[in-house]
C-alpha cells in the first residue's frame, strides 16, 4: 500500500496548486454523472421509453430471430435451397420415379402432368419457382453423384459348400438316362 500512503501524503500540498488544477464544474459534473449508476426509477423510465418507442426495433429483432431460427431448422433437416435453386429433399429424390412424362422433353404441360401424377414426390415442391426459375416451372432435380465401386482387395476363398448339380442325367450309368429317366 505504498501508493495509498503517497496519495495521502500529497494531500497537504500547497492549496494554491490545488486551486489552480481544479477543472470547471461542467466537466466535473460529467465525471460525476459517468460514475453514477442509474436509479431504479430511471431504469424503469428508460424501459418505458423503449416500450413506447422501441417497438419497431423489437419487431425487427423478432423478424431477424425468426429468420435465423428457420435457417437453423432447415439446415438441420437438409432442406435448404441448393446452389442451383432446386428445393429438394432427400425423400423426394429417392421416391422420384421414372415416368413417361419424365423422359419426355419438358414442356409447360408435361411438367405439370409429371408432378401432378406423383403426389408423394412433389411434396418438396411447395412453391415452385420460389427458389428456382422465375417462370414458376421447377428446376430439374440434381442427379445423385455416382460413387465408384471399390474392388475387394482380398480374393474370396473357394466355397466348400457342395453345389447342387442341375444335370438331369446326373448319376445315370450311360449318361443319357437319369434317376427319372
Amino acid at each position: 500500500m505504498t501508493g495509498i500512503v503517497a496519495l495521502t501524503a500529497i494531500t497537504d500540498i500547497n492549496s494554491a496548486y490545488v486551486e489552480e488544477a481544479a477543472l470547471p464544474d461542467a466537466i466535473l459534473a460529467d465525471t460525476v454523472a459517468a460514475a453514477r449508476k442509474p436509479t431504479r426509477a430511471e431504469r424503469w423510465e428508460s424501459f418505458r421509453y423503449f416500450m413506447n418507442n422501441g417497438w419497431v426495433v423489437a419487431a425487427c429483432c423478432t423478424i431477424v430471430a425468426a429468420a435465423v431460427l428457420t435457417f437453423i431448422i432447415r439446415a438441420g433437416r437438409g432442406t435448404l435451397p441448393s446452389e442451383h435453386g432446386s428445393h429438394m429433399t432427400g425423400t423426394a429424390a429417392e421416391t422420384e420415379t421414372e415416368t413417361a412424362a419424365d423422359t419426355a422433353p419438358e414442356t409447360e404441360d408435361n411438367v405439370h402432368t409429371a408432378y401432378a401424377g406423383n403426389a408423394e414426390a412433389q411434396t418438396w415442391q411447395v412453391w415452385p419457382g420460389l427458389f428456382g426459375s422465375s417462370s414458376g416451372t421447377p428446376n430439374p432435380p440434381i442427379p445423385h453423384p455416382q460413387i465408384p465401386s471399390v474392388p475387394d482387395p482380398k480374393p474370396k476363398p473357394p466355397s466348400t459348400f457342395p453345389k447342387f448339380n442341375t444335370n438331369p442325367f446326373y448319376g445315370s450309368q450311360d449318361g443319357k438316362s437319369g434317376y427319372w429317366g
Binding site: T2, G3, L7, T8, I10, E19, E20, A21
Partner: protein
C-alpha cells in the same frame, strides 16, 4: 468568488444552517468529483461529501480556511481515502490500482517518511510548467480520469498520459537528488 467564499464563512461563523446549503450549492459538484475520483462509486462518495459538510460545521469556527474550496477539497479527499482503505483492506480496485502503481514507481516511501513528502512535493511542483503542474495535481490529487483532463486542457488522452509519464520520471529524478532511494 472571493465574496461568495467570505459570505459562506460568515454564515458558518454565525452558526447559520444556511451555510451548509450555500456550501453545497457552491462546492457540491467540486467535492463530489473528488470523492468519486477516489471511490469510483456514488453511494460512498455522497456519504463522504456529507461528512465533509459536518466536518466543516464542526471546524468553522474556530478555523477560517482560505481558500475555502481547496480546504473542503482536502477534507473530502482525506475522508474518501479513509473510506477507500476501509473498503479495500483485503481486495484492490483495478482503476485505483493503476493510479497507485504509477505513484509507487516514483514515490517509494514508508509511513514514517510520509511527513516529509508534502514539502518536497511543493518544491517539485514549483519547478514544473503550469500545465504540467495542473495535469499532475489533477491526476494524483483530484484523481481526475485522463479523459476529463484531456477535455479540460484541450489535449488528447494519449498526450495527457505521455506528459504524466514524463512528469513522473522527473519526480523520480528529483526525489533521488533529494536523497530518497527510489
Amino acid at each position: 468568488m472571493q465574496n461568495t467564499e467570505s459570505a459562506i464563512l460568515d454564515l458558518f461563523f454565525a452558526r447559520d444552517e444556511r451555510a451548509i446549503e450555500a456550501a453545497i450549492r457552491e462546492y457540491g459538484t467540486y467535492c463530489m468529483s473528488i470523492a468519486v475520483g477516489v471511490l469510483r462509486q456514488t453511494q460512498d462518495a455522497e456519504e463522504c461529501v456529507n461528512d465533509t459538510w459536518l466536518k466543516a460545521w464542526n471546524s468553522i469556527p474556530p478555523q477560517r480556511p482560505s481558500p475555502l474550496r481547496a480546504w473542503l477539497g482536502k477534507v473530502t479527499r482525506n475522508l474518501a481515502l479513509s473510506r477507500y482503505r476501509y473498503n479495500h483492506a483485503a481486495r484492490r480496485d483495478s482503476d485505483m490500482t493503476a493510479c497507485l502503481e504509477e505513484l509507487e514507481n516514483c514515490i517509494p516511501l514508508r509511513d514514517e517518511d510520509a511527513g516529509r513528502l508534502p514539502a518536497l512535493m511543493d518544491q517539485f511542483l514549483g519547478t514544473l510548467q503550469p500545465t504540467d503542474r495542473k495535469l499532475f495535481v489533477g491526476r494524483y490529487w483530484y484523481r481526475y480520469p485522463s479523459s476529463a483532463l484531456a477535455k479540460g486542457y484541450g489535449l488528447t488522452e494519449t498526450a495527457v498520459n505521455t506528459r504524466l509519464s514524463r512528469i513522473r520520471d522527473r519526480l523520480r529524478t528529483f526525489l533521488e537528488k533529494e536523497g530518497w532511494t527510489v
